[in-house]
């Protein structure tokens, strides 16, 4: 039975005031939150927002009301903690206990910083890394928070570029992987893009312990305006990047890049021309199936999901209105969520299979909970 909880404003204040007390409670696991496989934020038909836990079958495992629209951006590897960021350019994030339905902590961006809406935990769950904009300097930063001690801020380092949009932690390689979107913004001008003529996105690999840059990959000159935004990582180290083209959408440039640490260049992948045009120059999310054989790129403005094989060969397109969230299911399957409430399983063999339809508009991303897979 799914549970319904709401994080009202007063409840949230009370919950954060009681942090010390709840911190002493026995450690809970994701099983205590209904053993969800995924997290996703959504808007209800009434206009209110919630964080959902979803099973691998697309069914609801829990929901917790949120004070506003947010991203479900990070899931703790073992404890039932989700980090929901306020809308970009937001300056706070909530750490939500999905078992108890309360806020464990409120992360405030340091002065002169705002969050980008994505972050990730270290493999042992002890630290949380967040993507941040040092907006007066125009430089990307990665904030480090102590997840074992009330989410105190314990450090930060350079993201390796401008506009670090999403990061992932590669436990096996001991690296943080950052998609630096390359676009400079300043809260004084909202989401206005200040440097399109000179923008330089990149994919940066940073040392997990020290934050030292290990490798930085730029797109070639003709794809300089392809903002690298969202990431996926396969168990064997393949990185997939979803991009947003900041030039003429009629250019129909490739919006998916792949890379493995150590390779000298990003590999851009495209569907045939007619299919590529349908994406309107906007990639929403990328995902790689657990067995590494299928890569998905979603395109909400085109109402399309494109599937590729591990070598980057185009496998086919699925037409799903407002599809944006994508995350690995077991085997060769990928879970897709859309703004009409649909949850779909896509795979190269079975193509697409509707799993569930919720009365909620799924937000841009769906996050896989690592411990839900063996």
């Amino acid at each position: 039975m799914a549970r319904e909880i709401s994080l009202g404003r007063r409840a949230f204040l009370r919950a954060t005031a009681g942090l010390a007390a709840t911190g002493a409670a026995p450690a809970l696991s994701w099983a205590d939150a209904g053993a969800p496989a995924f997290l996703a934020a959504a808007r209800a038909p009434t206009g209110s927002y919630a964080l959902f836990g979803l099973g691998a079958d697309g069914a609801e495992r829990f929901r917790i009301g949120l004070p506003g629209r947010g991203h479900a951006a990070a899931a703790h590897p073992t404890r039932p903690l989700a980090v929901a960021f306020a809308r970009r350019p937001g300056t706070f994030a909530l750490v939500i206990d999905c078992a108890l339905g309360l806020a464990r902590a409120r992360l405030e961006a340091p002065a002169g910083r705002h969050f980008y809406g994505h972050g990730a935990f270290s493999p042992d769950g002890a630290r949380l890394f967040t993507c941040e904009n040092d907006f007066d300097a125009g430089e990307g930063r990665i904030g480090v928070w102590d997840a074992s001690a009330g989410f105190a801020r314990i450090g930060e380092f350079a993201s390796g570029g401008v506009g670090p949009h999403e990061l992932l932690v590669d436990a096996r390689g001991g690296r943080i992987i950052v998609a630096n979107g390359g676009i400079q913004t300043h809260p004084d001008s909202g989401r206005a893009k200040l440097n399109l003529p000179t923008m330089r996105p990149n994919l940066a690999y940073l040392d997990l312990e020290t934050g030292e840059p290990l490798s930085v990959l730029d797109p070639a000159e003709e794809l300089r305006r392809n903002s690298l935004r969202h990431l996926a990582l396969s168990p064997d180290g393949l990185v997939a990047i979803a991009a947003q083209w900041q030039g003429d959408s009629a250019d129909a440039v490739p919006l998916l890049a792949t890379h493995r640490f150590g390779e000298t260049a990003l590999q851009f992948r495209s569907a045939p021309e007619a299919e590529q045009r349908r994406l309107n120059g906007y990639g929403g999310s990328a995902a790689i199936s657990a067995d590494g054989t299928c890569i998905a790129l979603t395109a909400p403005r085109g109402g399309r999901a494109h599937l590729f094989d591990a070598g980057g060969g185009f496998l086919g397109a699925l037409a799903i209105d407002d599809v944006c969230g994508a995350a690995a299911l077991a085997g060769d399957r990928i879970l897709l969520t859309d703004g009409l409430g649909g949850v779909t399983a896509a795979s190269p063999t079975a193509r697409s299979q509707p799993l569930a339809k919720h009365r909620a508009a799924w937000d841009n991303h769906v996050v896989r909970i690592v411990s839900s897979f063996g």
Binding site: M1, A2, R3, E4, I5, S6, L7, G8, R10, A11, R14, A15, R43, A44, P45, T46, S48, A50, R63, G65, H71, R88, L100, G101, L102, G117, R229, H230, Q244, D248, A250, D251, P272, E273, A274, E275, R277, Y282, G284, P300, R301, G303, A319, D321, D322, V323, C324, D338, G339, L340, P354, R359, A360, A361, W362, D363, N364, H365
Partner: protein
């Protein structure tokens, strides 16, 4: 279900658009019978008239047929689902915009090699979408400042190429029209939702029908008007659709006429009288402004007055689209795309 006493606020309420099944089936039936089928039939008929002048190598008659055929396409182009979205058909009818110049390069390659693919319709149908359709045909017929004919060097091959494009267009148009006329096909999927995975419910049908209306208006303001407008400092008249044939504004008028008709036959009856009247008037006002806007977008680069008129038309179209979203979408229970409209 566990309840958490500490927490306040209600769970997400389950609410949705009012279900008005019978009315919506009517909506789909009206749209199919009174707009979509006649629209594609007219397009197929007009596309067929491209063939005879191409066979006769008569460039003047082919230019006239090009205009008539393209008009017919523009009046039904906004339908953004069903047979025309299968494979690359939509792009094989019109490949535009073409910022990388795929069409001129592809045509040049065909002409230089005198590629015999033009004499084989099946093989031609597999060629790049950039050398097929109205965009390629316009290049052949209007490329030079002076109207061209098929006489002179390479004229024979250009004529065969034009015939190949004409036949290919006619073939695509006929296939789309035939699929809409098939009793068990897309028409049934729309009027009896549940039989096709793309249209599982009335809500899916309403959404698809609405998006074609909304998307058609969006295309006019963002693409047909927005691309050539560029910025005040840098207008981009050569980004206008079919500027070579001097009919960019005619495209806007024809596309608007198609949308106005679509609204009138399909959607007007889903609104209360006052709302329907407001929309009817807004379409008429937009049409009137479009009729006063000069045909030739090339004036954008030299005449500030021309720019103001195109901008005024763009504002009208946007206003019309806002009204459509405000009045028609809620009447049909259609919400705007959550992710498509708000990027991350």
């Amino acid at each position: 279900m566990r309840v958490f006493g500490l927490l306040i606020g209600a769970a997400i309420a389950v609410a949705g658009a009012a279900d008005a099944g019978a009315q919506e089936s009517d909506l789909a039936r009206r749209a199919v019978a009174e707009h979509i089928r006649p629209g594609y039939a007219a397009f197929a008929a007009a596309a067929e008239t491209l063939i005879a002048p191409a066979e006769a190598c008569d460039a003047d008659r082919l230019r006239a047929a090009f205009h008539a055929g393209f008009d017919a396409w523009l009046r039904i182009e906004h339908i953004a689902f069903g047979p025309v979205e299968q494979g690359d058909r939509r792009f094989a009818i019109l490949f535009w915009p073409d910022p990388k110049g795929h069409t001129p390069r592809g045509l040049k390659r065909l002409e230089e090699n005198a590629d015999p693919v033009v004499d084989d319709p099946d093989a031609f149908a597999k060629r790049s979408i950039a050398v097929r359709g109205f965009g390629a045909l316009e290049r052949l017929l209007f490329e030079a400042d002076e109207p061209r004919d098929f006489a002179g060097d390479g004229g024979d091959y250009r004529c065969r190429l034009a015939l190949a494009i004409a036949r290919d267009l006619s073939r695509t148009a006929s296939a789309v029209a035939a699929e809409w006329n098939a009793p068990e096909g897309i028409a049934r999927a729309l009027t009896r939702p549940g039989s096709d995975p793309a249209f599982q419910s009335d809500a899916d049908v309403r959404r698809a029908l609405f998006k074609s209306l909304d998307g058609g208006l969006e295309k006019i303001s963002a693409m047909r008007l927005g691309r050539p407008l560029g910025t005040f400092e840098r207008p981009r008249p050569r980004r206008a659709e079919t500027w070579r044939s001097g009919r960019s504004m005619r495209n806007v008028r024809e596309a608007l006429a198609g949308l106005e008709r679509y609204y009138a036959v399909a959607f007007a009856r889903t609104l209360d009288e006052a709302a329907a009247a407001r929309l009817t008037a807004a379409f008429a006002r937009t049409r009137a402004v479009a009729e006063r806007t000069p045909d030739d977008m090339r004036a954008l680069s030299r005449d500030p007055q021309a720019r103001f008129r195109v901008e005024a038309l763009q504002s009208r179209v946007r206003e019309l689209q806002r009204l459509v979203r405000k009045q028609v979408a809620p009447a049909l229970g259609v919400a705007a795309g959550f992710n498509a409209l708000d990027g991350d």
